[in-house]
C-alpha cells in the first residue's frame, strides 16, 4: 500500500469501517512509514477531542417530565387523576434516568457483592484481551456458537445475531465468575471488543439495565428471561447501552 492509497482509506480505517484485510495493510504501512503514522496520530487526537463529555448534550430532566404525561394522555390509558399523573411522570423520568443517565450512582450504591462481581467481569475482559484466549469457539454464526456450549455448561446461553445492527458475533468461550462457570460471548463493534457474560439469574426475575464505568471501561448489567447478563467493553457508554438495548429487544 502506498502513502496515497493509505490516505484515501484513512478516514474509513479510523472509523472502524474498513474490512480486516485492508486494515491489516494499513497497519503494515503505518509500521514502516513515520509520515503516515504522524498523520494518523493527529487524526486520532482530533477524534479523541469529540469524546469530551461537554460535547454530548443530555436531555434535561424537565423534558422527560413533560413527555411522560403527554404520552400518557395520548395513550388514553385513563389515568387522568393529577396525582397519578405526577407519580407516573416521576416514574417515567426515573426509568429514563435508570436507563441512560445516573446509572453509575445506582450501582455505586448497590451491595458490595455486585461491586466485586463488576471488578471480576472487568478482570476477565482484560484477561481475554491480553492473551490470545478471546474465544474457544471462533465463529460469527450463532448456530455454531450456541451448540458449542452444550455439554460444557449446565445451561444453554441465548446467542443473538446482531451483525445487521453493527455488532458482529466473533465467538464464545467458557469463563468463571464468582466461582461459577459462565458463557462468555464475544462481539465486535468496529475495532472494539465486547465480552457478554451470561448465566442463569439466581432470582429468576428481570432486572433493568444498569451501567457503570471502571477505569475507562464501561459495563452494563441486566437480567431477562431468567438469565443474568453483563456486557463489558472500552466502547463509549451510549454505544454499549445501545448494544444492551438491542439484546433486550431481541428476546
Amino acid at each position: 500500500m502506498t502513502c496515497a492509497e493509505l490516505r484515501a482509506v484513512l478516514a474509513t480505517y479510523l472509523d472502524g469501517e474498513l474490512d480486516a484485510p485492508a486494515s491489516a495493510e494499513v497497519e503494515r504501512h503505518l509500521a514502516g512509514c513515520a509520515a503516515c503514522a504522524a498523520l494518523v496520530a493527529a487524526e486520532r487526537s482530533l477524534r479523541a477531542a469529540f469524546r469530551d463529555p461537554a460535547l454530548r448534550y443530555a436531555a434535561p430532566p424537565e423534558l422527560a417530565g413533560a413527555i411522560g404525561p403527554a404520552l400518557r394522555s395520548r395513550a388514553g390509558a385513563g389515568e387522568r387523576r393529577p396525582l397519578a399523573w405526577t407519580r407516573l411522570a416521576m416514574a417515567a423520568a426515573l426509568l429514563i434516568a435508570a436507563a441512560i443517565g445516573s446509572l453509575a450512582t445506582r450501582l455505586a450504591l448497590a451491595p458490595s457483592a455486585d461491586r466485586v462481581l463488576a471488578a471480576d467481569v472487568l478482570s476477565s475482559h482484560l484477561r481475554s484481551l491480553a492473551g490470545d484466549h478471546l474465544a474457544d469457539v471462533a465463529s460469527s454464526d450463532q448456530h455454531t456458537v450456541k451448540p458449542w456450549f452444550a455439554g460444557r455448561l449446565d445451561f444453554s446461553p441465548t446467542v443473538t445475531d446482531l451483525a445487521a445492527e453493527g455488532f458482529p458475533l466473533a465467538g464464545g468461550r467458557l469463563d468463571v465468575l464468582a466461582g461459577h462457570p459462565v458463557a462468555a460471548l464475544v462481539y465486535r463493534r468496529r475495532l472494539h471488543v465486547i465480552n457478554l457474560y451470561t448465566w442463569p439469574a439466581p432470582s429468576g426475575g428481570g432486572r433493568a439495565p444498569e451501567a457503570e464505568s471502571i477505569r475507562g471501561y464501561n459495563l452494563v448489567r441486566w437480567a431477562h428471561g431468567g438469565m443474568e447478563f453483563w456486557a463489558v467493553s472500552d466502547l463509549e457508554r451510549q454505544e454499549l447501552a445501545h448494544f444492551a438495548g438491542l439484546l433486550i429487544g431481541h428476546r
Partner: protein
C-alpha cells in the same frame, strides 16, 4: 404491534424500546437547532410523533428509528420557516476568532472542547448532522445512512467534507 394490546401495554413497549434513546435524540436535536429551547421542543414533537407511528416500528434499532423521526421533524420545521434560534447557514460561514489559530501539530496536541463545539455549530447542517452522529453519537456509516435517508457513499463524502471544513476552521483558515 397487534391491535389487541391496551394503550397501557403499547405505552410500556414504547417506553422500553424507544425512550432509552431520549438523550441521543436530544443530543442530535441540540446540534441541529443549536439552542436548548428549540431542541426540547423538537424532541418533544419527535417523541410524540414516534409514539403516534409506533405501530410502524417492527422491533430492531429503536435509536436509529427515533433519531430519523427527530431529524425529519427538524427539516419539516426548517422548510416551514419556523424560527430555529439562528439562521441556518446554507453554505460555509466564517467562524470569527473561535478557532484555535495554530499549526496542525499544535492542533494535534490539544483541541479545546469549546472551540471544537463552536466549529461544529458553524458547519452547514448536512455536514454537521453526519459528523455529530458519527463522532459524538457513535453511529456506524450504515446507521447514519438509515437516519439521514442517504446512501453510505454520501455519508462518507459528507463526513470527509465535514472533517475538512472543521480542520480548516480549527487551524484558523478561512478558505474552505
Amino acid at each position: 404491534m397487534g391491535g389487541t394490546e391496551t394503550g397501557k401495554e403499547r405505552l410500556e413497549l414504547f417506553e422500553s424500546a424507544v425512550m432509552p434513546y431520549l438523550d441521543a435524540a436530544y443530543n442530535l436535536a441540540r446540534w441541529l437547532t443549536r439552542n436548548p429551547h428549540d431542541a426540547e421542543d423538537l424532541v418533544q414533537e419527535g417523541v410524540l410523533r414516534a409514539f403516534t407511528y409506533f405501530d410502524g416500528f417492527h422491533g430492531g434499532d429503536g435509536r436509529s428509528w427515533l433519531l430519523a423521526i427527530v431529524r425529519n421533524a427538524f427539516y419539516t420545521r426548517v422548510r416551514r420557516g419556523q424560527a430555529l434560534g439562528r439562521r441556518e447557514p446554507l453554505d460555509d460561514e466564517t467562524l470569527g476568532d473561535a478557532g484555535v489559530r495554530d499549526t496542525e501539530s499544535a492542533l494535534a496536541a490539544r483541541v479545546d472542547a469549546g472551540a471544537l463545539g463552536r466549529a461544529i455549530e458553524a458547519l452547514p447542517v448536512a455536514f454537521r448532522e453526519a459528523l455529530v452522529l458519527r463522532e459524538i453519537e457513535g453511529l456506524s456509516y450504515k446507521e447514519i445512512a438509515a437516519v439521514a435517508g442517504i446512501p453510505i457513499g454520501t455519508v462518507m463524502s459528507r463526513l470527509a467534507r465535514a472533517r475538512d471544513l472543521l480542520r480548516r476552521r480549527l487551524a484558523g483558515g478561512k478558505e474552505a
